[in-house]
Assembly symmetry: C2
């Protein structure tokens, strides 16, 4: 894993990881940490994605969100195609240092590739047998037309 | 994977997964989806954890958060030891249905096993070379003593 941990320190003891000031992100077997991006204004969750060491380092150094695309197997500057970049207002790391939370200002107001403000535009009703769930659309207005934004840009 | 998808429909086409009302969570190779829990009041991210099909089904059916512990390899009712259960106010699923967002009312006010309100009690300063980061504690007061809460309860 050392070749995948980039410029970061390898994790020490559990006490150091949880109670220390050393930043030692715990990358998984695929070299990734989970990243949650929330809207710095509303607090709503915009998206959940992944960062490898390079994406995490670039995000820290530039203050703009970089991710790792598991489907494209490539470093991915959020908004590189759509222009919908994310300016990071604050970054936090969790207790065991395998998840990152970033509060962002979302350019264009839409984080989701479907054109919506957030990727979480459908609710799962509760208190019902899980096999009978029908999703309910919420805040699902499209702020841009993905066919126009991504056309001829792949 | 079918034996791991529980009562849920298998994913259909990308269009169905993204634009449909069918709930077909996309479990990873380990049978898990990522779950982000935020505080229903403040909107702050409390924790990031994982759910297998059984945990997701129980959460939907009971309205209380259940997770899957990767370290203990076991279904885990949040708060089963500490009493710090999470009542789920709303559940959302993301565009490609591999991440769940739950807004919760956190019993005891503390979601983190270290005794803190949130697992994200340290900030990563931005605009600095990534290898030189020193974490900064934020909102890191302990609301309970983990040694007392978890003692003799393993």
């Amino acid at each position: 894993m050392s070749e995948n941990s980039g410029p970061f320190a390898p994790p020490g003891s559990a006490a150091e990881v949880e109670e220390g000031r050393t930043f030692s992100p715990k990358f998984d077997a695929n070299g990734l940490v989970t990243c949650v991006a929330t809207d710095a204004g509303s607090g709503d969750v915009l998206m959940v994605a992944h960062m490898n060491a390079a994406a995490l380092a670039r995000t820290i150094e530039t203050g703009e969100a970089w991710y790792y695309s598991r489907s494209r197997k490539a470093l991915w500057r959020k908004g590189e195609t759509s222009g919908h970049v994310q300016r990071v207002v604050e970054m936090r790391i969790d207790c065991d240092q395998d998840a990152v939370w970033i509060k962002v200002e979302q350019a264009g107001g839409a984080a989701c590739h479907t054109g919506r403000r957030s990727c979480f535009y459908r609710a799962v009703p509760l208190g019902t047998p899980a096999g009978t769930v029908t999703l309910e659309f919420r805040d699902a207005d499209k702020l841009f037309d993905p066919e126009k934004v991504y056309r001829d840009k792949s």
